[in-house]
């Protein structure tokens, strides 16, 4: 599998994303945001976490309109895989590749901690290595992760099975107590209509090595590798 990580000024998690992808067997290239095209044969585009353009205007707003995003849109339209993590999710929403918006956390605090997620379905390119409704432990680190969208959009996402992950506790229980940021319906990640674009606030790439406390994030990258292999 060939993965391209788009680098914006202010991205800072591209190294971790590259490590996670390589561990799963991908070959990885880093693509500067001013490029108009993706490397030939790119299977997966990753928009990494960070603070693109210093979060100026709105998180992901300026990056979402970069030249490289036209190429990412074309890639997605062809059915290519796209993964946006944290700031990458914000960029996907701002670019129109995913609906809705990430608002300030309910309590206005930047939250950096371990967090459990419930895998809502395991029949997508991103989650096939997980069990259905498995509770995985990864990390969150964001100030604007409170997912909001029009009621109609939320209904559509729910009706079409496009919620990828929900915040939950260690037992997989979803509810207000486990929701760190006030996100609508405890949404931590969503898919595009064709399930080939995934945006998520949590960081699976943080948890791929027992050295740093867990490997629950590996499943996502292994899922991708098996799909495109």
């Amino acid at each position: 599998m060939k993965a391209a990580i788009i680098l914006f000024p202010g991205s800072n998690r591209e190294g971790d994303a590259a490590r996670a992808l390589r561990q799963a067997g991908a070959s990885v290239s880093i693509v500067w945001h001013a490029e108009h095209e993706l490397p030939n044969g790119t299977d997966l585009v990753v928009l990494p976490g960070g603070f693109s353009y210093g979060d100026y205007l709105r998180c992901g707003a300026i990056a979402g309109r970069a030249h490289a995003m036209d190429a990412v849109r074309a890639h997605a339209a062809r059915g290519g895989l796209v993964l946006g993590i944290c700031n990458g999710f914000q960029i996907l929403c701002e670019s129109g590749l995913l609906p809705g918006v990430l608002m300030r956390n309910r309590d206005l605090r930047f939250i950096c901690k371990r967090q459990h997620l419930r895998v809502e379905r395991n029949d997508t390119a991103f989650t096939r290595a997980y069990a259905p409704h498995q509770a995985i432990e990864v990390a969150i680190a964001h100030g604007e992760g409170n997912y909001e969208a029009h009621e109609e959009t939320i209904r559509q996402l729910e009706g079409e099975g496009r919620v990828a992950f929900r915040y939950c506790d260690a037992n997989g229980l979803v509810g207000d107590a486990a929701n760190p940021n006030g996100s609508t319906n405890h949404i931590a990640g969503i898919y595009s209509e064709n399930l080939n674009v995934l945006g998520m606030m949590p960081h699976p790439e943080n948890f791929i090595d027992p050295l740093v406390g867990g490997i629950d994030g590996r499943g996502l990258f292994e899922s991708l590798f098996h799909k495109a292999a």
Binding site: L57, C93, P99, M103, R106, D107, L108, E148, A149
Partner: protein, 79 residues
């Protein structure tokens, strides 16, 4: 030509920053504040003096970048 674009949150969208400011005003003893919503102001210098062209450019700027139409409204003023 000078112009001002004001971007505000749509009604019903939760505004935790506005709420925090509202609380701070209350704790400062500022009387009579019922609620606060925070927005953004963009002061823009338009080249040329064609008002229709300016309005069209500002509308495009607002819809394409300055406002996120999912949660925000904008208004345009030519000054």
């Amino acid at each position: 030509m000078k112009a001002r674009v004001t971007v505000t949150l749509k009604t019903g969208v939760l505004d935790p920053q506005g709420k925090a400011i509202e609380g701070a005003l209350r704790s400062l003893g500022v009387e009579g504040v019922a609620s606060v919503r925070q927005g953004k102001v963009f002061d823009i210098e338009i080249a040329g003096d064609d008002k229709h062209a300016a309005e069209a450019a500002l509308k495009a700027a607002s819809e394409k970048l300055l406002a996120n139409m999912v949660v925000e409204n904008f208004s345009i003023e030519l000054l």
